[in-house]
Symmetry: D2
Subunit: 336 residues, 4 copies
Amino acid sequence: MLIVMSHRATEAELDAVVKAVQDMGLRATPIPGSERTAIGVLGNEGYVDDLTIRDLPGIKEILHVSKPYKLVSRDFHPQSSVVNVRGVAIGEGCRPIVAAGPCAVEGEEQIVKTALAVKAAGADLLRGGAFKPRTGPHTFQGLREEGLRLLALARKESGLPIVTEVMSPENVGVVAEYADLLQVGARNMQNFDLLKELGRIRKPVLLKRGMSATIEEFLSSAEYILTGGNTEVILCERGIRTFETATRNTMDLSVVPLIKELSHLPIMVDPSHATGKRSLVPPMTKAALVAGAHGILIEVHPEPEKALSDGPQSLTFQGFAALMDDVRKLNSFLHF
Amino acid sequence: MLIVMSHRATEAELDAVVKAVQDMGLRATPIPGSERTAIGVLGNEGYVDDLTIRDLPGIKEILHVSKPYKLVSRDFHPQSSVVNVRGVAIGEGCRPIVAAGPCAVEGEEQIVKTALAVKAAGADLLRGGAFKPRTGPHTFQGLREEGLRLLALARKESGLPIVTEVMSPENVGVVAEYADLLQVGARNMQNFDLLKELGRIRKPVLLKRGMSATIEEFLSSAEYILTGGNTEVILCERGIRTFETATRNTMDLSVVPLIKELSHLPIMVDPSHATGKRSLVPPMTKAALVAGAHGILIEVHPEPEKALSDGPQSLTFQGFAALMDDVRKLNSFLHF
Amino acid sequence: MLIVMSHRATEAELDAVVKAVQDMGLRATPIPGSERTAIGVLGNEGYVDDLTIRDLPGIKEILHVSKPYKLVSRDFHPQSSVVNVRGVAIGEGCRPIVAAGPCAVEGEEQIVKTALAVKAAGADLLRGGAFKPRTGPHTFQGLREEGLRLLALARKESGLPIVTEVMSPENVGVVAEYADLLQVGARNMQNFDLLKELGRIRKPVLLKRGMSATIEEFLSSAEYILTGGNTEVILCERGIRTFETATRNTMDLSVVPLIKELSHLPIMVDPSHATGKRSLVPPMTKAALVAGAHGILIEVHPEPEKALSDGPQSLTFQGFAALMDDVRKLNSFLHF
Amino acid sequence: MLIVMSHRATEAELDAVVKAVQDMGLRATPIPGSERTAIGVLGNEGYVDDLTIRDLPGIKEILHVSKPYKLVSRDFHPQSSVVNVRGVAIGEGCRPIVAAGPCAVEGEEQIVKTALAVKAAGADLLRGGAFKPRTGPHTFQGLREEGLRLLALARKESGLPIVTEVMSPENVGVVAEYADLLQVGARNMQNFDLLKELGRIRKPVLLKRGMSATIEEFLSSAEYILTGGNTEVILCERGIRTFETATRNTMDLSVVPLIKELSHLPIMVDPSHATGKRSLVPPMTKAALVAGAHGILIEVHPEPEKALSDGPQSLTFQGFAALMDDVRKLNSFLHF
């Protein structure tokens, strides 16, 4: 940590800061400059909580060198993690996986038909929402536990492991009973009580990046789950909110190689939510694979024009099968 | 609702869209233009859920005229609402109120001392966090239920009603038992299970705007609570996330007069979180009052330099008392 | 400057960085930590250009303590500057001024009538665009030099000094011939050839903040003008671009007190462009004054519904006169 | 165009709007709804300038169906354009090209050596800045005309056509004398006088997207150049400004397939500026190609650690050669 003093800080203020650092059991090394003095803080292990010093008079700025996360960091865990979802391996060195299915589970025929279709086209996992976060209260909110039962049925019929969202700490138990991979949606990335509860279970978690979450906040949220003891976490970029409204969100694809530098956790990409536009899903799926994503999440619906949510970004069965042909060719080029 | 067809849409596609609209029990009026045809949709009451039509071939864009919220809208409730928090009236026509206190409740002495000090300076409510949302798991997470008890004690000593945050549906009960006003933090603005639970109680709720929430999403979240039957909702602008990092967030003060046009609910402002910088809190408090805010939320701490969270943006007792002098003068100028 | 080494940096890499710093004529002080070593750089005067070191192997991050601007900084010029625009003083300690007028000069009657009306209502300056930046080429582009002549005529009739935009280095001469205050629009904040040209003249400049400019970039653009020798610069916040589309831009009012801490230059606010909505202009004008703005820029048009640009955000004469009544009362409360 | 009336609009207000539309020579079709009336506007050719109506009393909102650009739109020019840069074809159906070279031309040896190295590695164009836009005035501003001469020399030695930036209308002549492709930088995307000047020449232009420019604004800026008569325009995504600071900008790669739907113009990508980080350039180059980019702009420098600008994002000769090997393999997979 480096403490930068104001160029009008007095000697007494400098001394008080040095003393406060020493009271924390750390060493303080003043570094006088031409305009102002800085104080290097030494002896810490990991991130320093600066609460007892940051507000002392004469301080201009505090620069942190260590990060607020540790367990998820590649610095302390150099080897890439591979997460196993009911026999499907996800992570560096594995063939990138594809999870496909409707935004929301709407009924038995819809989900079973979709499961069989995406399985036939080559998908590795079935996705589908039973608990649905919706902007307003007057739209379809999901089939809830009935949706979970239908997903389990679709798994039985298709053999595909299932991934579905959990929105509340109190539902972690019931969702974990059915799901093979529990998804935390973008709106809940900083629902810390939910993250803590997910740290207590022993099932894999798919953590989506919040709409306006920095990489540091994203990794810190994953840190909550690992701190609880659950190390089976997969990250997922799903687009961030920016000034641009031509796409539903802005897909921040550069975070794929960046997160692979910073963390050992696998990283997936959701081009359906990131773009919100069916025609953009195939090119961005392929771009994500080439950028190094460990998996892709794609919305597929038997009749997108009748979908109860996210129709405009869902692929048809035919569209998905065509995309999977391209994905297979691309993977073989990429040596998977 | 207006459906804009692609300029390459065929007659058959146009007919299919018209039929789909009629299947919804609505009237469709084609409006041919020089480049493309649009279809006006008539006969709806309120927002039209476009799910069965938005994905039909030939459609370029769908423009909604109605909003996804209704109960919170001034269109349908022209008279401004006033919310009563244990005897303190908040809303249009009332003197703007000030809620003050520490970011987090840290101990009995800290919270009681602060309560008495802000009361003496003229505050109307005591704020303080018992359940604390923190970016990373390795920092102070709040005193939880013990914090609620200390807040109740501080209320008894000072006479000030208390406002405190609730983070999880399962804690709504216990927080409602102690708090006079339940706060939903920015990170939970779209925690829909929490909003639904708050719709079931009969205590006022302070709903903070999410970091990247549009006004429409903000009001839609309030709509969740009103839909549940709880009409005692106060909105709160607390800064949005933008590219600018010189302040902690960007205070979007224009939403105060804008929300007063769109909704009948009271709107408060939190300059402490919006700016993240102590020296900016007094000028922005006064600006918010002049812009028409119905109340202000200010962080105050006996020793900001030792605060367990948000020290750099907290006012000292002296700083707060000086600001309250200015607030009183300003209010008397504004005729309150 | 602090150079943070990777925790896997070798001794040789550390030595190479130390040597590179010394080659710049500066001193390097290694600060070993538990996880990684940092290197404090001493002996610099002002901002260090890190180009010869920032890319050396083993470096994780470089933290700058000094800022890339100096002449505009309050650190080196503690006393607030007051800019004189043909007898109208703008800056700290002066009564906040109001510049009013149409977005674009459209004809003699329009501009003279407006000048007399805003003068009668109490405006200090007349604003009006002769050279107009427009998003697309198929809309009205301004009357150009003819517009300047009409502004000069309106000045003669009303006695109000005039402020108008200059878009190109080659037009600085002709605009400076007519204008009392030359405005640089948001889209040209980083038109560096224009800024350099404005550094060569001896007339005051009103520099608007770019749509996505940080405070540091904003002040660095002002630094261009001062570096050229022209110290008569007034800054102007006019809203930034964010995800929110309910207002035309997001007025970042907190920068008013913040810039007053960082710089000695006067700072004005343009609530017309910041909000884009007529009804929001009066409350945000008053909020800006209370936040400490040294002046306000307001769009006024005789018939806003017929304005060739920016009609929806322009006040009518009556609306402007009513607002000026409030402004006078507020100023007398604020002791001006 | 659809005009949405307020639900409190009077009959007289409705009639006034209908009349105003008719005064524009267009037809107005009222569409009464349950809550409010809308007015469809018919008979227009292209975008309607709404200036004489948008501000009439009773209007709530105006929804535009047509876009403010036409010449660049695929609607009116369905066939993809191919731009020829001194014999190098850029556009749909052509092998994607690579333009490589230093951020800034620094001297003869540097630019000639780089030209030969990138040519040997397979680059199609040489890039290099002679006129440099820099945030602050105290850093290197480019060699200007001397830099142009050095670029021409490097072209002679290597045979590579050259692309370089032009910052001011008055320099368009001299830059066009030397350059094969004139680049407009992000900061000048809305420097309309510059765009108009570029519309008058008959050399290809590379237009970079502004830091906070929407797709609509980006295409409208290109429309300026085409309106002037110069149809040889190539678009370039170079990252947008968002809240995320982990990368220099946020690469908005989805715009590549999106712009190919909206416009017939070629679209390139600049991963060096978009990411600002050397290690991210190779994966994002490959992702851009797979997403359909018609060309890539890459910064390469003989000694990035000594570069006078943008060192941290420049590739070394070896790094570039390795990337070009991958690019060739990828192109052969993509059938170029």
